[in-house]
Symmetry: C2
Subunit: 200 residues, 2 copies
Amino acid sequence: MPTLHDNADSGNCYKVRLAMAQLGRPFTRIEYDTDHGATRTPAFLVKNPNGRVPVLELDDATCLAESGAILWYLAAGTALLPADRLEQARVLHWMFFEQYSHEPYIAVVRHWIKHKLLDAARTAQLPERHAKGYAALDVMETHLATRTFFVGERYSIADIALYAYTHVAHEGEFDLSRYRHIAAWLDHVRAQPGYVAIDA
Amino acid sequence: MPTLHDNADSGNCYKVRLAMAQLGRPFTRIEYDTDHGATRTPAFLVKNPNGRVPVLELDDATCLAESGAILWYLAAGTALLPADRLEQARVLHWMFFEQYSHEPYIAVVRHWIKHKLLDAARTAQLPERHAKGYAALDVMETHLATRTFFVGERYSIADIALYAYTHVAHEGEFDLSRYRHIAAWLDHVRAQPGYVAIDA
């Protein structure tokens, strides 16, 4: 059975937990205190030299890092990833969008606020990070105005990748009340078979 | 023939130009002045609602954005992307690493310095961005100490994705002289058939 090197509050780890639950793949979890260097130890850096969770450790001790890469590995050949080349590229489009234009603002601000890590330098960055987070939400809202899911009108790992930090964006003091299409999409994700909550 | 909505100085655009050159795929280029809002016009936002280049516009007007997604689309089924599921996940690992842990530091600092965009707020961020950029280079150096290329000992889009901003990191005042394994890898990339320079 694979082992997920995990952090309960991390949306990046939750993406993997959600995908594995929906694919019916059992796994064991090892929890790391990421705020206090638990993923920067020599033993952990062997698993991921970049010092971050999630890491999925397979039965043969192969370690995969980066939530997007793990999602791809798990979903390939399943209903969570289209088989068509253009649709696969669209799925990756949204997954790269999430990591570059969404996570550094919405996830990072949430982490700072929720974990009480706001020093003066970070507080000074809040207005710009909030603005860029809202810009990402605006892009999602426009896309979802005419769609149920992000790619090909089917639930995929693109939805999982974007759901993870969007549904807890309020914990970073993002006001989601003006995003009705995002709200409908969040409900569609929660209604998917095998759904588990981030704190499950 | 596809059209690349492009910026000559952007490493993200260069990734696409390099891959297409190496795959022998002709394309036309349209240049955008990204420093002055040329990718934020209503006409451009139809092509990419996130307002960024590169965008690859196919013959049927389909538009693909996000450099990593475009690379995937171009490379699928070619020698630039392994066919094995685990190796594909490893390729994506390095592509996500580049967009999350490398580009926001090395590419962004290069852009600020090269384009003279360093105001007080950005200058205050330089030490942290340089530190995180060096951390990414350290991860690459360790990985390359025992390898010629990033995945499976074959040149792939993982190498293209990481080459684009690493080989111009000195323009962001990163000192690459201590990274001898990265230096050897840069030489291997430059020696690949069909290689073109960023300013070609």
